[in-house]
Structure formats: structure tokens, C-alpha cells
């Protein structure tokens, strides 16, 4: 009997573990190590953050689902990997520390034949003074990164609405809290859901909403933007993003590295080297992501973390990490199998793998501060990479080494993204977008880097309905209900 250990139970880890358990059956064991007791459909957190959904609408308990899926569940966080075992024992293992199940604080060595690192990001609030610290979110801003954060954000928003109803003008600042953030899409959604909420509450005229972001232009979204066909033209997403911001009267600051947050103030540096301070009554600034800080040790106990992980804590996989200028970036730099080059039984998927470089054009201020979005790997790419790697591991276990590994390069896969701009069965709107491929390939698609037959976007009620359907569909799938395998990632 072989044992696959999946570290992390988010979109990528959950997908990998559930498919692997289904394909392997009871002949082999699948273990999930995740510090959380509940699964969270993160894309709907923005609706929790404006009070349109409750926390219970976006989470469910993992234990019964893993029982049903024949998956061993350990509510714990992974601390370190020992890919060669330890002195006196050759079997590789992961050291974990329990966070629940009545074993809080206890450590355990979980041996494995294969391990999939799907630990996701560490929300690195500490990267920006005042945004938070090593323990998490600070006191001056709110976040929608977790369901609990979103509940807190909703309460703070309610306070602001009460003040506006009493005639007190409020300033909202939404965006990214550092020059190296990703997930601009979530902040974008939150900004426009707040705008929509304030209109419904009848206080929109009492609010100044401003967007602040590390994108070089609106509509970059960490993907260098996208070009799409509209009414006989091929146009940049910049035009459509700016149009929406202007329509909803949301002012914007772009190319910004927020370097310090104080009570009611965000200090920032811009791409042109100038600095500024933006005042706010309510701020939601996405933190940058980093690896969760997994360590790795050799058989003799020596620290081999740098062999498996990049300095940012994300795991090195089969990508081409050779440093090169933007003009020499290739689609082929991106990983295909997500296998660690150091240990063939270790894989990393979703946000846990280290991308070879950015997707957006790199940019620095004259002071040398990098201000550019890092590549998004959430949602569809996270699910697809999780499933592909689960398939590879199952083949390795059942057919033996030497099998062709399954491939899922972000330079060959597309992604569908639905960004809410306000909720409501008949009044809601969302920007429905697809890109193909996620990573532009200028050799295959000279000009835009993408296939404009499959790269499109439009805003409307239909997009909102799609986002609402996806909410129910993906929670249904994650609960392993009848027919769950038929729902694509």
C-alpha cells in the first residue's frame, strides 16, 4: 500500500486529494494535512465582506467530507519535509503540528511515498508595516482573504454606512497593500461590491471610493492585461477597466507600492519614484503572498530548504528559473508536471509552486522598488494543476515509475474568471472573462500573446448569474456529492 500525503486543503489540495482517493480506491492511502477544520469557497468571501452572505454560506466542515471520500484527515500544519528520511530510517516523512482534533500542539512524523505540496500562500501582512504582523491582519485595515476576515470587514463596513447615514462623509481605499501583490481581482470585486452596496443603502453620494494597486495599468490583473474582440475591434482590458471605474466614479492610483499603513493613512511610492499619503476611513488592502515557510532536512538533519524552495518559500518545480530579461521570457519557461527536480516523489501545485517569473511586465521605481503584480495561480489553474498532478501520482503508484507524467502548463491552459461588480438576482453585474492561455505565448499568438477567439470579457447580469451558479456548483463538488467528478475545475 502506497501513501500519498497532500499538504493543504484549499482548491488545489482538495482537488488533488479527492481525485487521487477516488482513482486509487482503498488499495492505497491518501492523507490530507491542513490546519483548517473547514473548507472555504474563497471567491464568495467578497459577498461575505459586504454582508450579502454569511460565513456559513461559504464554508463547510472538512471531516465528514474526507470520511466520505476515504481520505485520512489530519487537522495540522506541515512544518518540514525529510525527503530522505532520517538516520536509522530511509522512509521520507513530513513533520506536522496539530491545530485541532484534540491534539493541538502535538507533532507527528507522517511517512509518505508521494507528497503534493498544496499549502497555498502565507498572507504576508508583515511585509508592509501597519498592514499586520506575523500573526496576521493588523488593526487599521480589513481583509477578505479568509471567511473570518470577511465577516470582520462586513461589520466595519456597516459602521461606515451608519456614519454616512448620519451625514458623515467616508473615504474608502481598496486595492493592494504592497508592490508585489497578486489577487487584484479579489480587491477589484470588493471595491465594486462596496460601491454597489453603498448605492443600495442610499449613501453612495457620501462616499469617496479610491482604488490603489501595484498594476502598471488598470485591468492588468497580474496577467499583463488581456486583449479581446469587441464590436469589431481588438482592445485592451485597460479600456474596459477604466470605463467601469469611471462609470462607477471610483478614482484610481496605479503603479503603487504601499509601504506603510497607519491609522487612517496609507503611505505609498509610485513607479515614477514620487511618494504620497492617502487617507481613509475604511481600507481593504490585499497582502502579498509568500510560501508558508516549510523547511526541508537531509537524512543527517542538515537544512536543505534551499534545494526544494525558492527564497520566497514557494517550491521549485520543473520550471526554467534561469534569470532573463522580459524580452526573452518564453511560454516554455513555465512548469508542465509540477514535479520537484530535487526529489521525484514531491510535487507542488496551486499557489505553492514557484513561478519562473512574472506574467506582467516587470517594473521598478527609480528608487529600485519593484512594483509589479505577481502571477495569479488561484481558481481554475489551481484546480487543473491539482488534478493533473493527482493523475500523475496515481499513475506512478499503480503503473510504476517511468510513466509519462500528466501535464498542465499555464502557458497552454485557459482560465475563466468571473469578477462580481455587485450582487442581486436581477440587478447584479459581473465581468465574465476568459483568457487563453493564462501565460501569453507570443510565439503561438504574435501580437497579443493569446488566442482572441477564446479570450473575451463582458460585464452584465449574465456574469453575476454565472458567479452565483459557480458558488453553488463548486461547493457541491467540494462536498463530493453525486456526480461531483463531472463538474470541471
Amino acid at each position: 500500500m502506497a501513501r500519498l500525503v497532500v499538504l493543504g486543503g484549499g482548491v488545489s489540495g482538495h482537488t488533488a486529494a479527492t481525485f487521487a482517493a477516488k482513482w486509487l480506491g482503498s488499495a492505497h492511502e491518501v492523507v490530507v494535512v491542513t490546519p483548517n477544520s473547514q473548507w472555504n469557497w474563497i471567491p464568495s468571501n467578497i459577498w461575505v465582506g459586504v454582508g450579502d452572505m454569511s460565513k456559513q454560506d461559504v464554508v463547510f466542515d472538512l471531516a465528514p467530507v474526507y470520511r466520505k471520500g476515504n481520505i485520512t484527515y489530519k487537522q495540522a500544519k506541515a512544518i518540514s519535509l525529510n525527503p530522505e528520511g532520517k538516520e536509522g530510517a530511509d522512509t521520507p516523512f513530513v513533520t506536522i503540528e496539530y491545530t485541532g482534533q484534540g491534539k493541538e500542539g502535538q507533532t507527528e512524523e507522517v511517512t509518505y511515498d508521494y507528497v503534493i505540496n498544496a499549502t497555498g500562500p502565507k498572507l504576508n501582512f508583515a511585509a508592509t508595516p501597519g498592514l499586520g504582523d506575523a500573526n496576521g491582519l493588523g488593526e487599521y485595515t480589513v481583509s477578505v482573504c479568509t471567511a473570518d476576515h470577511a465577516v470582520h470587514a462586513s461589520h466595519e463596513l456597516d459602521r461606515c454606512i451608519e456614519k454616512m447615514q448620519k451625514g458623515e462623509r467616508q473615504k474608502f481605499l481598496i486595492g493592494t497593500g504592497h508592490g508585489m501583490c497578486t489577487c487584484q481581482g479579489a480587491a477589484f470585486e470588493y471595491a465594486f461590491n462596496i460601491e454597489s452596496k453603498l448605492r443600495k443603502a442610499g449613501v453612495r453620494d457620501m462616499a469617496d471610493i479610491k482604488w490603489i494597486s501595484n498594476e502598471a495599468f488598470l485591468g492588468d490583473f497580474g496577467m499583463g492585461g488581456l486583449h479581446m474582440k469587441v464590436n469589431g475591434y481588438v482592445v485592451s482590458s485597460k479600456l474596459f477597466a477604466e470605463s467601469l471605474y469611471a462609470e462607477r466614479n471610483v478614482d484610481w492610483i496605479i503603479g503603487a507600492h504601499v509601504n506603510k499603513v497607519e491609522k487612517g493613512k496609507a503611505h505609498y511610492e509610485l513607479l515614477d519614484g514620487t511618494t504620497g499619503v492617502e487617507e481613509f476611513d475604511f481600507a481593504m488592502l490585499i497582502p502579498p503572498f509568500a510560501g508558508v515557510g516549510l523547511k526541508a532536512y537531509g537524512k543527517d538533519g542538515s537544512d536543505i530548504t534551499d534545494q526544494l524552495f525558492a527564497p520566497n518559500g514557494l517550491m521549485k518545480v520543473d520550471a526554467d528559473y534561469t534569470p532573463k530579461p522580459y524580452s526573452e521570457w518564453k511560454a516554455s519557461d513555465w512548469p508542465r508536471t509540477y514535479q520537484s527536480p530535487a526529489y521525484k516523489n514531491i510535487f507542488a501545485v496551486g499557489i505553492a509552486f514557484n513561478p519562473p517569473h512574472l506574467i506582467s511586465k516587470p517594473a521598478k521605481s527609480p528608487n529600485g522598488t519593484p512594483i509589479n503584480p505577481t502571477p495569479p495561480r488561484t481558481g481554475m489553474p489551481a484546480g487543473i494543476t491539482g488534478k493533473a498532478v493527482a493523475h500523475s501520482v496515481c499513475d506512478l503508484i499503480t503503473k510504476g515509475e517511468g510513466v509519462q507524467l500528466h501535464e498542465a502548463s499555464m502557458a497552454e491552459m485557459g482560465a475563466a474568471c468571473v469578477a462580481s461588480a455587485g450582487r442581486g438576482l436581477l440587478t447584479g453585474t459581473a465581468a465574465a472573462m476568459t483568457v487563453y492561455p493564462v501565460v501569453p505565448d507570443f510565439d503561438r499568438f504574435p501580437g497579443t500573446g493569446r488566442d482572441t477567439d477564446y479570450t473575451f470579457g463582458e460585464i452584465g447580469l449574465a456574469g453575476h448569474w454565472i458567479k452565483q451558479v459557480l458558488h453553488y456548483l463548486f461547493i457541491y463538488k467540494a462536498k463530493l456529492k453525486t456526480g461531483w467528478t463531472l463538474i470541471p475545475e
Partner: protein
């Protein structure tokens, strides 16, 4: 002379950035939430997304 106010055009004067972009007209905004048209778009968008999903697996 009577002042002609077209609400969807007011934001152009907010600042230079907004002045240099495009803002949807009343007709474009109506179509965004027109249930019949959006139902058609819902079907079309789902088909287009499924094609991209299929190409990605």
C-alpha cells in the same frame, strides 16, 4: 437656456483620467441588466467558457 444633464456623462468631468476613457451610455447600461438579453448572454457565455475549459484539460 435650460441645462441639459445626461447622468451617465457627468463622471467625465471628475478628473482627467475619467475624462479620457469611455463610459457606457444609458442604452448599454440597460442591456447589462435586460433579463431577456442577459439570458441569451448567459447561454452564450457558458458555452464559450466550457470551450475554454475543455481546451484547458
Amino acid at each position: 437656456m435650460e441645462k441639459k444633464v445626461i447622468p451617465e456623462e457627468l463622471n467625465f468631468q471628475n478628473n482627467d483620467k475619467m475624462n479620457l476613457t469611455m463610459i457606457p451610455s444609458r442604452y448599454a447600461r440597460f442591456m447589462r441588466t435586460c433579463v431577456i438579453w442577459q439570458f441569451i448572454r448567459f447561454v452564450v457565455l457558458n458555452i464559450k467558457m466550457l470551450i475554454v475549459v475543455r481546451k484547458s484539460h
